[in-house]
């Protein structure tokens, strides 16, 4: 299998304005501002093979979304280098952008004021797809997600679960080779989560895209991910399979104790929170 994502010493630092409380400090802030620097991603080096689903796991603020955003071209790194499908993502070459898709579970990517079907026609134009082919594909995906009945309803009128299904169709319409999924099941009920998980599992079997997935629901990771990337304070602390990770963690425990993946991750995140 070929390497589709490669990073070397990839770092990103953010500056944020620090304002001490009170009105006097607000006035002082007009001419004198203090900025705090935070390393969100620290010299990350990794390689990802094509056709794999990578589960990116870490506590809030560990740097997983930053990594995802750099690899998808949303954010420019402070230092280091990365190539995705042979392109530097932050240069946003159209040939690169046509082969990727990013789904941010907490943000709408379709157009709020029009129906999903109108959005999909627009996306077909953006990605230069045949209208008839993309229409067929929308219907296929909608059938799989059981949401054909809402294709012509204004997006703002849909429920969160229906909206997420529409977002997924929008993200998959151009059959991306790499798919970045940032918490695709956030805020959904258990049934909806499971539907989307099953859909993604089937989709991956059929189309074999490379997927980088972040989620706070460990079921998403355990069900879908081939490999696990554990990130802590901007550093990758584990790269390997989910099974190896659980096996290693169990070997460190007392011989009569045995835990599953979700429990291992929970303990890892708890330790993380204490250190932070």
């Amino acid at each position: 299998m070929s390497i589709v994502i490669e990073t070397k010493d990839l770092s990103r630092e953010y500056l944020s304005y620090q304002k001490p409380e009170g009105i006097l400090n607000s006035i002082k802030g007009i001419w004198n501002r203090k900025y705090d620097s935070k390393i969100a991603l620290n010299q990350t080096t990794l390689q990802i093979e094509s056709g794999k689903i990578i589960g990116l796991v870490g506590a809030n603020g560990a740097g997983k979304t930053t990594l995802l955003k750099i690899l998808s071209g949303l954010v420019t790194p402070t230092s280091g280098d990365a190539t995705v499908l042979g392109y530097r993502p932050w240069e946003r070459d159209y040939k690169f952008l046509k082969q990727i898709s990013i789904l941010l579970g907490q943000k709408n990517q379709l157009w709020w004021d029009i129906s999903p079907m109108d959005s999909f026609v627009l996306l077909s134009r953006i990605y230069d797809l045949e209208l008839s082919t993309s229409r067929k594909r929308v219907l296929e995906l909608a059938e799989m997600l059981q949401c054909t009945h809402v294709l012509n309803t204004q997006l703002r009128r849909l429920s969160l679960g229906e909206r997420m299904k529409m977002e997924i169709i929008g993200a998959l319409l151009h059959e991306p080779r790499i798919l970045f999924l940032d918490e695709p099941t956030i805020g959904l009920d258990i049934v909806a989560q499971e539907n989307i998980r099953n859909f993604l599992a089937n989709y991956v079997k059929e189309k074999e895209p490379t997927i980088i997935l972040t989620s706070h629901y460990m079921d998403d990771i355990a069900t879908l991910a081939d490999r696990l990337l554990l990130i802590s304070k901007g550093n990758i602390v584990y790269q390997g399979t989910v099974d190896e990770f659980v096996k290693n963690s169990n070997s460190e425990l007392a011989h009569d104790e045995k835990v599953d993946f979700e429990e291992v991750i929970r303990r890892f995140l708890e330790t993380e929170s204490r250190i932070r």
Binding site: V75, I102, K107, D113
Partner: protein, 272 residues
């Protein structure tokens, strides 16, 4: 090359259609924006000029009679509607400051073209409807109007609209560094209110300011097209308008692209 241009064209046509579809979803808002607002502005300006003429006891001001000023007031409000983009500028700024721009910059399209095509699409559909009113009013009240000049005047105003969009793009680039900049838009719009000639005809300003203001590209928004239709300016002014807008477009696009690149480099992906 030929294919990529065809793709570009189809994509931008789709953006223009998006603006039309989106605005027609909210019919009443569209009607108020396209018809009611310019009628109200025209009404206010016409009352103002009637008051001025009643107060001066003079038949002409600066060589033009009352009918010329009423014609100017009538057309200026409708051309000014074409030549402004504050609604889209606020949206562009909001995209950057709230982080919704994420969904646009990871797609194979430009932010500038995306909003420009929407703006042109929206203005096109609005103009077709709203311009019927000054045409009928001019004809009915027999106000000075050279009807055959309307297409060229509209063309200059639409060309100027590209410049307005470029200024919006420039302001929006600043949003990457300064989160809240809506006051920039308001201050800029107030300045353009005078510089375009929306508030009053620029030929009322004393020399040497008059020549200088008319030679600026902003006059192409309202003063030149309306002056051309109502007979205040001749063809040479229009040619000058096209040239000055072109020069401004080149300069401002260079500055805006540079600012945009710097902005994107510092962008954190979660809003500015």
């Amino acid at each position: 090359m030929k294919k990529s241009f065809a793709v570009f064209l189809k994509r931008n046509l789709a953006f223009a259609k998006l603006a039309i579809v989106t605005n027609l979803e909210y019919r009443l808002n569209y009607f108020v924006d396209a018809i009611v607002q310019p009628i109200m502005t025209t009404g206010i300006e016409i009352l103002l000029w009637l008051g001025v003429f009643a107060g001066t006891h003079s038949v002409t001001i600066n060589g033009f009679g009352k009918d010329f000023y009423l014609s100017y007031a009538l057309w200026a409000a409708f051309f000014a509607r074409i030549a402004t983009s504050w609604m889209y500028e606020f949206r562009m700024i909001e995209e950057v400051s709230s982080g919704t721009i994420n969904s646009l910059i990871v797609r194979p399209m430009g932010f500038y073209e995306y909003y420009l095509s929407q703006l042109l699409g929206y203005k096109f559909i609005t103009t077709i409807i709203s311009m019927i009113i000054p045409i009928i009013a001019s004809y009915y009240f027999k106000l000075p109007c050279i009807y055959e000049r309307i297409p060229l005047a509209s063309l200059l105003c639409f060309y100027y609209l590209i410049l307005v969009h470029t200024i919006s793009f420039l302001v929006c680039s600043v949003a990457f560094h300064l989160t809240k900049i809506s006051s920039f838009t308001v201050a800029k719009n107030l300045m353009l209110w005078i510089l375009t000639g929306e508030l009053f005809p620029l030929d009322l300003i004393p020399q040497p300011w008059r020549s200088q203001l008319i030679s600026l590209p902003f006059a192409s928004g309202v003063y030149l097209p309306v002056g051309y239709i109502s007979g205040r300016v001749d063809h040479s002014y229009m040619v000058h308008g096209f040239i000055s807008v072109t020069i401004a477009l080149v300069i401002l696009n260079l500055i805006a692209s540079w600012l945009w690149k710097i902005g994107l480099r510092s962008y954190s992906g979660t809003g500015a």
